[in-house]
Amino acid sequence: MVSKKISDFKPSRRKVLTGMAAAGATTALPGFVPFVQAQSSEPIRIGFQVHRTGIGAAYGRWYDRTTMAAAPVINDMGGLNGRPVEIISEDDGTDPKRGAEVVEKFATHHNTDIAYGTLFSHVVVGSAPRAGELKMPYFVVSEGHHVASGMLNRWTLQPGITDVKSQVQAMAPFVADNLGKKVTMIFPDYAFGHDHRDFFSAAIEAQGGEVIAKLAIPPTETSFTKYFPQIPRETEVIYHVMVGPAVLTFVKEMGEFFGSARPEIFGFIDSLEAVDLATPGLEFLEGTYFWEGMPRYAQENQSEYDKFYRAAIGVDNNGASVSDPKDVSTFAHMFGCWETLHTIKAGMEAAGYQGTSDRAKLVEAVEAMTDMAESQAHPQGAKVFNGKTHQVFGPQYISQVQDGRLVVQHKTALEDGFYPDEVDYTTQSF
């Protein structure tokens, strides 16, 4: 029932997710000091910076659905420190300038306790300085390496999704051992693509392979065939990662270019995120491999957490909307919203968070976190949080297209994605 209701989704500006269940559950739970209850039954306000318009809107829609599904679940569990969570959404237009304004609006107008939810990395970089100045905890879900690289500040954290540097490093051994050593990379000429380029090149060399060509595709490009001849003939593996509305064109044209003589292909699912694998023209992908942040198709050994998570959001076993099987979700990324909200809950409880004066305590409490067990709160898998770099490390999945479904072939170990710390945010003052 819940899933049905939410999948009839209409974008709405604010959803006050208080509700009777939350209030009832908190009083029933043991361990709550009575005066806390008396003092503040007001909701904790989470400012949700969402890409409702602009280039990130396709992701934004599913980040929104995941967030709106996670909030009532958290409220059913007793909310945050006994207080219900209220999500206050504000569109940033996938624009860094507006992003900074939205963070400011959260802090000074909506008086939210924290800000959360940003995906596109240029919006993160545009917004984080303001969050730092406003001393507002800013939980991003963007997989960019910007947090762990040290360029941001102590108030910005990424506890829900692994960064690209770690992801690609964990992929390199599989690619080198199973697919080939001579790699051609195709990636968008965005900072996001540059992270792939730089970190994967280094990682594959460490495995004895090499990147023999790098094709950086300019943004807003809509046709790709003309660039493919720059792929060297001796390429053993194509490594592709693409974002934006033209991803399907990109993949289809790649298939048409190679015909029956394709090399091994390894892609980040970003290239087909929210795209139905059954779309005509994608047949050539059969047998190719994809990185997945979280497996889109329910696997044979599906965990109960995965089951619960899908049901809560209203996503079926093929990663599509329950109400519309053609409406495929951004399954490989959006779990980050779910997990981040649960981490915020854990952090607030650990910090005994009461109000905005406890924001620094919240950051410290999250920094103190380390192991996160696979659970309903972390359905993607067990993780380790690095308090110094503010970055979480989780497992990565490599799936193969078999009969038009993505079947997991390999799950990386957490250690595969570790790299030396580049920053220690805990030494910065608040």
Binding site: T108, H122, D189
Partner: protein
């Protein structure tokens, strides 16, 4: 008088505005410097550019890269940013002024697009679309912390006041009158003995430099530098600000920026469809307020408004 009054009012507002609007106003002042720069070219000299983002970006990256690559303090870096914008606008002016009308629009658009792509191309230096952060601890001039809201507000206000008075002085000067003459009828102006090409070039350079000052100030005051400021929609913004506020009025760009900012902000509190609201308002304004907000004010009430 009106303009000094506006500046005085803005000084006063600093003390009474709630934090949110206080922060917004600082932003609006910086953005309206961008719009005022645009107004010199478009509102007074009649040159419709669709590439003004490149000048804003030149100022922003001139400042930002100086800090990022050479650890230059933000004060001198700000000046470098302004010079970078001035240099770019001189080069663009020399080339683009060979064209007029729609060709001028396209040429400026193309140059701006090339600047945007160049930022992406040199991503190891510029960090591409993501850009980079000007750290809070380096954003200081003479010991003043520019990330502090009050300091930031006054810094924005000082820049705004300087530019406002500069434009006021310009349009009351003889050179300003020549620019208007060029807008109205370039050939006639030439046949009154004016080197219209040189005047237009000067307008482009002044306009671009002011836009660059806004860009550099934006980076210094708000701490981020990014390529999205070089994209086409960011070139359209000052055009809208100026057209709505009233082209060819000194105060119009500020009014337009204020109006557009709060139109977006308020409508996004009411509905997801803030672009729909903005679109409808734009259409209505063109239908019923053809010379922009201050243009109407001038027509109806204040004929002397410069």
């Amino acid at each position: 008088m009106l303009h000094l009054g506006l500046i005085a009012a803005l000084v006063l507002l600093q003390f009474i505005l709630p934090a949110y609007h206080h922060g917004n106003l600082a932003r609006i002042m910086v953005l309206s410097v961008f719009a005022m720069g645009y107004n010199i070219m478009f509102g007074y000299a009649g040159l419709l550019s669709l590439g003004h983002a490149m000048f804003f970006t030149a100022g922003m990256y001139g400042m930002g890269l100086s800090v990022r690559l050479w650890d230059i303090p933000v004060g001198p870096a700000f000046v470098i940013g302004i010079f970078a914008a001035a240099a770019l606008s001189l080069v663009v002016g020399l080339l683009a002024l060979r064209t007029i009308g729609v060709a001028f629009m396209i040429v400026t658009l193309m140059f701006s697009q090339a600047v945007f792509l160049t930022i992406l191309y040199f991503n190891p230096i510029t960090r591409g679309d993501e850009g980079f952060v000007i750290a809070q601890q380096v954003r200081q001039i003479a010991g003043l912390d520019l990330s502090n809201p009050t300091t930031r507000y006054f810094a924005a206000l000082i820049l705004f006041a300087i530019c406002l008075l500069a434009v006021l002085w310009l349009v009351r000067s003889r050179a300003g009158r020549v620019l208007i003459a060029i807008r109205e009828n370039e050939e006639r102006a030439r046949l009154l003995g004016y080197d219209t090409w040189a005047h237009k070039l000067a307008a482009v350079v002044m306009s671009g430099t002011m836009a660059g000052a806004a860009g550099a100030a934006y980076g210094v005051l708000f701490g981020s530098v990014g390529a999205s400021f070089a994209e086409v929609p960011f070139s359209i913004l000052p055009l809208l600000y100026v057209l709505l506020g009233g082209p060819g009025t000194v105060i119009g760009p500020f009014v337009g920026t204020l109006f557009m900012f709060y139109l977006r902000d308020l409508s996004s509190s009411l509905t997801d469809a803030h672009m729909l609201v903005a679109g409808v308002v734009l259409i209505l304004l063109t239908l019923f307020a053809r010379r922009g907000i201050m243009g109407i004010v001038r027509e109806r009430w204040l004929k002397w408004l410069p």
